[in-house]
């Protein structure tokens, strides 16, 4: 191997992260359960039934307060104590690795652990708050992974069980996939995400392993525009949608077959804002006057593993996914989209 290749490999090694192999304490996302409720169920199903992994889905787990925290609605100490309670629940359940479904939560857990490293007195204070409020103690997690990290880690195992690769069955060409990584995944702490902030790899790794072609479009690293208060305050929503619009305009020349995102908010906004832009300006970004389907990575994994699209909850998307299902050669019953499958 040439010296240059070794140097490149050494450099790339810095952009990798350790992802635990098994035994995860699962942290659900507040908004993903509302927007795309089947995604988390699909994740648990894939991890447990397809990959044989152990996850603890704790009914006592609550919000991390992330949206309220980033909107200045709760004080930092409240957020810290709530997350300390999550660590306590994990400790009590006998787990050491966390798999976090939400990018906001993932960023916040990471931020607090980093804060406690820098300011141990803050950690001591929070431990006291938690003891006073709940009589609980906790160990900090050994490994924190976003759930997309775990799917990325086992992408080849999923590929081995794949029944429908990301290939257009009519042309035989790989599907063109544009990815979007949530800002709080690696932009705050680049070493905590696969590929860091500059070279996002977590989704493109899945796309490549499952037969698709990832597209590195110019605004790939741009924010989707959710930004909490950008969206939560109605007067600011024009700014929020403008960010998504910038991304759509950037990806359109590559004629993507679908968008995949690893953040609950991003997947939602890249889907719903297409409807808003169509209604406000009459612009659509996909083929034949349609939108570009926007999937979560669990839905993408579910499709390649042969799950029924309506069981995966694809009817919850604003942009119709049928053109994508047709391209992949997936059989579906149109009526089941709204009535549900008869078991």
């Amino acid at each position: 191997m040439s010296e240059q290749c070794v140097a490149k490999q050494n450099l790339w090694a810095k952009y990798q992260k350790d992802i635990a192999d098994d035994h995860y304490y699962y942290c659900r996302s507040c908004i993903r359960q509302t927007f795309f409720p089947a995604s988390e169920r699909a994740y648990l199903n894939i991890m447990r039934d397809k990959l044989g992994k152990d996850l603890f889905d704790d009914p006592n787990h609550t919000t991390c307060t992330g949206i309220a925290y980033h909107s200045d609605l709760v004080p930092l100490q409240t957020t810290e104590t709530v997350i300390a309670r999550h660590f306590a629940l994990m400790t009590e359940a006998g787990y050491e690795n966390m798999a976090i479904s939400c990018v906001t939560s993932f960023g916040l857990y990471t931020e607090l652990l980093h804060t406690w490293e820098e300011y141990p007195e803050e950690e001591a204070r929070v431990r006291q708050y938690l003891w006073d409020a709940t009589r609980r103690e906790f160990k900090k997690p050994k490994n924190i992974a976003h759930t997309s990290d775990t799917i990325y880690k086992f992408r080849n195992e999923i590929a081995a069980q794949m029944t429908r690769p990301l290939v257009n069955v009519k042309t035989g060409e790989p599907l063109k996939v544009v990815d979007h990584i949530g800002c709080h995944y690696a932009k705050m702490f680049p070493t905590k995400g696969v590929g860091g902030a500059e070279f996002p790899r977590v989704l493109t790794g899945m796309v490549e392993a499952w037969g698709g072609t990832p597209i590195d479009y110019p605004e790939r690293r741009h924010c989707c525009g959710f930004g909490f208060r950008n969206y939560l305050v109605m007067a600011n929503r024009g700014y929020s949608v403008a960010n998504s619009k910038k991304k759509f305009e950037s990806m359109v020349p590559y004629k993507p077959d679908f968008i995949v995102a690893n953040c609950p908010g991003c997947a939602m906004f890249l889907d719903r804002w297409q409807y808003t832009i169509q209604q406000m300006e009459g612009t659509t970004y996909g083929a034949d006057g349609q939108g570009i389907p926007s999937l979560t990575y669990e839905e993408m994994a579910g499709l390649v593993l042969g799950y029924d699209p309506w069981e995966l909850g694809l009817q919850m998307h604003q942009v119709p996914v049928e053109p994508l299902l047709d391209k992949m050669g997936i059989q579906y019953t149109p009526r089941d989209k709204w009535t549900g499958k008869k078991h």
């Binding site: 109605m234 007067a235 600011n236 929503r237 949608v241 403008a242 619009k245 910038k246 808003t276 300006e281």
Partner: protein, 113 residues
Amino acid sequence: MWGFKIAKSQSINYDRNDKEIMRTVLENEPSLRVCMACGACTATCSAGNLLPTFNIRRLNTLLQRGEYTQLRNELNNCMLCGKCTLVCPRGVNIRNIVLNTREALMKYESDTI
């Protein structure tokens, strides 16, 4: 109905600008290619000394970006004294670039009107 409008983008996409004048100037004065934007021209510029907003180095940037409106306004401040050419460490004939840019701009405007 919506309570908000889609905000207009504030960004300038230089790739969409017409680079015709830059190409013409480069053909006539290839020494522009070796400019390293050190700013010696700006430091010695008499016009720049009198007009704090005039910056001969920025003219090069505007020219390369195809930002012609601003370039035209700035360019008229040059007195063609040639001190910038004298101090340039890379030997760029800056006065000739200014003359060529003025000429190319006039031609470009008469062609596009």
